[in-house]
Subunit: 222 residues, 2 copies
DNA sequence: TCTATTTATTAATAATTTATCAAACTCAAA
DNA sequence: TTTGAGTTTGATAAATTATTAATAAATAGA
């Protein structure tokens, strides 16, 4: 799968340089210069990494971090000129994943970004969850070594479950992540899609938690 | 689950201080002063985080990191007096997860350790009350290691009891916390719900205090 | 022991959520 | 233009969960 990174930084020179170095790694980068734009981009698209400056016009980086943690758990790297401990502690309290102070070498920024992406599994070619293996590049799927043929939509859904194995995916999350936050249609589409997906899976590895959502059960196997 | 951390640092003063601060978080810490001891500890026990100094007698930290990555993918935080970029880049190339340079504040070390633990799922929160364990994120429930399947409402009720283990929950509290302060219905709903919940629990761990309320008994076990 | 009160139990019903299925629609490839 | 795989819709069935209401049992106080 493609790696998408969001950079929020108001200094054009730095923004430009950061983007360039990240793109050199083959990653896709969206950039903006203030917190509000950042937040609206986050609603539109799934990112695997977010890089935030702290001092921003309008909503600052700390505030933005706090707000985005309400809606997603994407790794966040804070990148700032504020080198005092208080600001760093505050960032980690707001559930940042890393914090580097300017000036920093671009190589190190890239390496730290890479470390976060590696740890979150975004750089893996395949996603494993119990006996289930997904290959996002080819849409190939295996369960316990046996091939399963999924349609693109089915694959997307199963990929979402596999990346969050053991966690509950609510109907709302499913709708926004698979059909987009602005999906107008009927919620029944979830049930129809889940039925088709489950029919192709060998056993009931997707549990229904009535009134809450679905959950891919990953047994203590492999 | 318990969090186990391995610290490899030859400077006794620093080792001591690091251990003390980590233990203050409720984490279990093993420490040693050289790479070879570190490696043999890694073979013996599963750690959720490894903290490595680079300059060590014998096998140094970079070398140790390279070797341990052959056998495990545990998050590694490098902690070193070497502040040059080359060493930091090398650490990340050897698949370190973080790198901080001495001198650093203990608070920041702890926060960074916490960030790594959080990201790797080692801190996932569960509610424990005696032999009862609740996982609010997945609605999973265990008693003495055995799975119990609860409906969302049953789970909510049990969660309230578990969060207040040993304390009496009055009927009024139950009603307002579970059914909302504006619940119009019959109070008999409490009795019906409690009956169903108790039927699923292996023994009578919820005591009735007549005229007052209910109380989750937490034996002096675990 | 008797009585009033509280709680437990049960079955029936209501409400809600999810599963299923067939038909209609879309869109790209032949 | 036709075909067909893939997706979506909407109607209906099935299942689960929540609630009520009636009755039984237990408890504490007189």
């Amino acid at each position: 799968m493609n790696v998408n990174i969001l950079v929020v930084e108001d200094d054009v020179i730095i923004q430009d340089m950061v983007c360039k170095f990240l793109q050199k790694e083959g990653w896709f980068v969206d950039a903006c210069a203030n917190g509000d734009d950042g937040l609206s981009l986050l609603y539109d698209k799934a990112y695997q990494l977010i890089i935030l400056d702290i001092m921003l016009p309008g909503t600052n980086g700390q505030e933005l971090l706090k707000q985005l943690r309400q809606i997603c758990d994407t790794p966040v790297l804070m990148m700032t000129a504020l080198s005092d401990d208080a600001n760093q502690l505050r960032a980690f309290n707001n559930q940042a994943d890393d914090y580097i102070t300017k000036p920093f070498s671009m190589q190190i920024l890239v390496k730290r970004a890479q470390a976060l992406l590696r740890r979150s599994g975004a750089l893996k070619k395949e996603i494993q969850a119990g006996k289930l293996v997904l290959f996002p590049e080819t849409y190939a799927t295996e369960y316990d070594g046996n091939k399963i043929t999924l349609t693109p939509k089915e694959f997307e859904i199963l990929e979402l479950f596999a990346r969050n194995a053991g966690k509950i995916i609510s109907h709302e999350t499913l709708l926004t992540r698979i059909w987009g936050y602005d999906f107008e249609g009927n919620e029944g589409i979830i049930h129809a899609s889940m039925k088709k997906l489950r029919d192709k899976l060998p056993c009931s590895i997707i549990r229904t938690i009535k009134g809450v959502g679905y959950c891919l059960e990953v047994g203590g196997d492999d």
